[in-house]
């Protein structure tokens, strides 16, 4: 009888927490990290979904509703998604968690194409360095615990597991790039989003400076980049998943560089794609870059 | 020699209008071949509407009309409304379009045809104006050019809507003389006019229209004081409370 009663109590207590914590993240990468850390105790929604472009996001009324109903709102910070902070403020001052708190930021590259949305002086793409994402995950875990104290042990356990996975990934990427000679480690991308990756893993990303994906391009900038490609014998150029590929293909064709696969900079791919989770994305990017450098 | 009952145009209970109000009611008349007919009447009498219908731009709401000549042999000169004078086209090019039936949409103008255009321009008194843009012509000159184009169409039935509106008297006289030449060439002409003096001088036949046919026949018999007085009493605007018209049914009984 006592055992039955204890079981019932246990069943009741778990069912009391059956309703998951509502988490809203600004974009797919943060959403994925939140899901890994939060597990079953959270229901995560990304405002900018896979293959979406958070730079040009226009908020909709449904976004405001989601933010209002959410228990935890997660933004990247570093000027990437100030629109979410504004939205949260206007939707009733839910405190927004900045995932990048504590990350050592890089300065914004001078010629970065802002897509009409000013990031400000800092480069926001901190997640391109896996080590930074370990900090992200810690910050997100702290926020989840603050909103859901009862799940603390659960979150800590999941964080530990994820952190180990990230640490292994970080070391792996580091080691694979270190195995290559320095002059080989240079590539061109059309979007200036890989500064953190380059700094962390020792790859020189020649940004197609002034040749961003959406702004109007000057012939001088294109000529400059092509000359540089020819001079430095850069082997490969990459297209990203939110860009019009024609420009970068032309640059590659004339600069004597191959067009490599697709890199994922600001968003995950769809669930069937090669970058369906953050870890998959980083692995894919690393594989693709390496394959491009030495096929 | 045409058959004795050859006609250029016959109207059978022709009724034209807009939105149930008739502009022209129950018109029944026959224009013989080679007639030179003036259509007169007060403003709002339906004269322009009649010509529009014969030219094929308006559908009758009751009755109909029959053409005594093939449709391609009918030429229509509307009032000047739709012409865009700011368009960069020369007098020569505009007038040469009258030869459309011969050269079509793509044909080039043969030297003989170009000469014909020039000769026609000379006949209407526009020699030397060939290369001027049409926007620089005066009202009278523009009307001469339109007449020249009409002539080049070489039609058997010509419909002219107020051809001498706001035109200087010299041009009017010159163009009226040309109309008489056409008449002499055996063409049928129907012209809407306001100048009774001109009508009496130049047009042997006349149709007095005041929504309905008040008179049709030799000009002297139509332009009488009694008929003209009747025409003048015609209401100009549509009457919202007018009863349904049964006139034709009554006449047939």
């Amino acid at each position: 009888m006592k055992h039955l009663f204890a079981c019932l109590l246990l069943a009741c207590s778990t069912s009391l927490f059956a309703a998951p914590l509502k988490v809203v993240a600004s974009f797919s990468i943060l959403a994925d990290i939140s899901e890994r850390v939060g597990g079953e105790r959270v229901a995560v929604h990304a405002l900018v979904g896979p293959d979406g472009d958070a730079h040009a996001w226009q908020s909709r009324p449904s976004d405001a509703r989601l933010v209002m109903d959410a228990d935890v709102v997660i933004a990247n910070g570093l000027g990437f998604d100030t629109w979410l902070e504004r939205l949260a403020a206007s939707a009733g001052s839910r405190r927004v968690v900045l995932a990048s708190e504590g990350v050592k930021p890089l300065d914004q590259h001078d010629d970065h194409d802002h897509h009409g949305d000013d990031h400000g002086p800092l480069d926001p793409h901190a997640w391109q360095n896996v080590a930074n994402v370990r900090i992200y995950a810690r910050n997100i875990a702290t926020a989840l615990i603050a909103a859901d104290a009862a799940g603390e042990s659960y979150y800590r356990e999941r964080l530990a597991g994820y952190d180990a996975e990230l640490a292994a990934l970080d070391a792996d990427i580091r080691q694979r790039f270190a195995a290559l000679p320095e002059e080989a480690r240079k590539v061109v991308t059309s979007h200036d989003a890989f500064a953190y990756f380059g700094a962390a893993y020792g790859v020189r990303f020649l940004s197609a400076a002034g040749v961003g994906n959406r702004s109007e391009v000057s012939a001088a900038a294109m000529a400059r980049l092509i000359r540089q490609l020819r001079k430095e014998q850069v082997p490969v150029v990459f297209i990203e998943n939110v860009n019009d590929p024609r420009l970068i293909e032309r640059i590659g064709a004339e600069g004597g560089a191959r067009v490599g696969g697709t890199l994922y900079s600001d968003a995950l791919s769809g669930p069937d794609g090669p970058a369906a989770s953050y870890v998959a994305m980083m692995r894919h990017n690393a594989d693709t870059i390496l394959a491009g450098i030495q096929p | 020699m045409s058959a004795p009952d050859a006609f250029a145009l016959a109207c059978d209970n022709l009724t034209l209008g807009y939105d149930r109000h008739p502009a022209v009611h129950h018109l029944d008349c026959r224009f013989p071949r080679g007639a030179l007919v003036a259509v007169v009447g007060p403003n709002g009498a339906g004269k322009s509407t009649l010509l529009k219908a014969i030219a094929g731009e308006l559908e009758p709401i009751e009755g109909g009309y029959r053409l005594g000549v093939p449709r391609e042999r009918v030429a229509y000169l509307p009032q000047r409304g739709e012409l865009d004078l700011s368009f960069p086209v020369s007098v020569f090019d505009m007038v040469a379009m009258g030869l459309w039936r011969q050269i079509g949409a793509f044909g080039r103008l043969h030297p003989a045809q170009a000469e014909l255009v020039r000769a026609t321009l000379a006949r209407v008194g526009l020699s030397g104006q060939e290369q001027r843009p049409i926007g620089t012509l005066s009202g009278g000159q523009l009307q001469r050019a339109r007449f020249a184009r009409l002539m080049l169409q070489d039609a058997d039935l010509l419909l002219l809507d107020e051809p001498f509106n706001a035109i200087d008297s010299r041009t009017t006289e010159d163009l009226a003389a040309i109309m008489q030449e056409w008449h002499a060439e055996g063409r049928s002409i129907v012209a809407v006019l306001h100048d009774f003096d001109l009508v009496r001088r130049v047009f042997p036949h006349c149709l007095l229209l005041a929504r309905e046919q008040l008179g049709f026949g030799p000009t002297a018999e139509v332009l009488t004081p009694e008929l003209l007085a009747r025409a003048r009493t015609l209401a100009e605007s549509f009457d919202e409370h007018a009863p349904v018209c049964h006139r034709h049914a009554e006449a047939a009984q």
């Binding site: 001088a220 294109m222 000529a223 019009d244 032309r250 | 030219a55 739709e82 379009m97």
Partner: protein, 288 residues
């Protein structure tokens, strides 16, 4: 000298392609623009850039981010809007401008709705619109083909089109060319605009269509000369704009359009048809 004018083109293929693209656009779109101008439809280009959205959206829904599918979709949507507008203008009391405005707005709204149904925030039109510096083989082929078709159609339709512009009632009275000229012309406009958007972006496509035509209008008084003048101005703007973009490091599309704009301003100031034309070209008058 050579360094300034020739070597950018000899050194870089993208510059050669851009120049070829400008030439094609000048030959195809600019004459169409002259007629648009004369028919008082100059603002149509901007309207069309919005009207094609539902077609591009449907192409995207069906085939994903395929430029081919979206361009074809855009052409179909553009044709539907333009032909429907023309039909309504001819058969109702609405004039062409009102009719077109009505349809392009409906089309744009439909397009926004369709895009939002998918849920993804993809700035479709930005993906669809190209840039003069990134002309790949497919794009070059597209504008070359449209240009050839346009030149052929204009040569064939020249007379009916001119008549349709300045004396439509006469054209109606001599046959059934009126709808052919009208709809044929509208089709040419859509084809040139959409292929222009695809290859070169909206700014350049519309800019090169209208600005040289507006400038040429101020200089010459007869239509054939106006067409030649406009095409020449268009190509010159392309050339000068590209060189400016190369040597002064300014974006290419805007540079080309601003060059055409500069030509227009100069025309307003100095041409016989311009603001000061009467004063500048005063000559003693003749006897008769």
């Amino acid at each position: 000298m050579i360094e300034l004018f020739v070597s950018p083109f000899t050194d870089f293929e993208f510059m050669r392609r851009a120049l070829a693209g400008c030439l094609a656009l000048a030959l195809g779109a600019t004459p169409v623009g002259v007629f648009l101008l004369l028919r008082r439809m100059s603002l149509m280009g901007d309207a069309m850039s919005h009207a094609i959205l539902p077609g591009a959206a449907l192409g995207y829904l069906a085939f994903g981010l395929s430029l081919g599918a979206m361009t074809v979709g855009g052409i179909v949507a553009g044709l539907v809007v333009v032909l429907a507008a023309g039909l309504v203008a001819r058969s109702s009391i609405l004039k062409e401008d009102a009719s077109l405005a009505a349809f392009y707005l409906m089309s744009l709204a439909a397009g926004v709705l369709i895009v939002s149904l998918r849920g993804k925030n993809l700035d479709l039109l930005h993906v669809l619109f190209g840039s003069v510096l990134s002309l790949d083989d497919g794009s070059l082929l597209l504008i070359a083909a449209i240009t050839s078709a346009t030149l052929l159609a204009l040569a064939l339709l020249y007379r009916p089109l001119v008549l349709e512009c300045f004396d439509p009632s006469f054209l109606r009275s001599i046959g059934r060319w009126s709808p052919v000229a009208h709809y044929g012309f509208l089709t040419l406009v859509v084809l040139n605009l959409v292929s222009g958007f695809h290859a070169l972006g909206t700014l350049m496509a519309v800019g090169i269509m209208i600005l040289p035509a507006a400038a040429a209008r101020l200089w010459v008084k007869n239509l054939p000369a106006m067409l030649v003048c406009a095409v020449g101005l268009a190509f010159a703007s392309g050339l000068v704009g590209l060189l400016g973009s190369f040597h002064l490091d300014v974006p290419a599309g805007p540079a080309i359009v601003l060059t055409a704009g500069l030509a227009h301003i100069l025309s307003i100031l100095f041409a016989p048809g311009g603001a000061f034309g009467a004063r500048l070209y005063r000559r003693t008058h003749l006897e008769a």
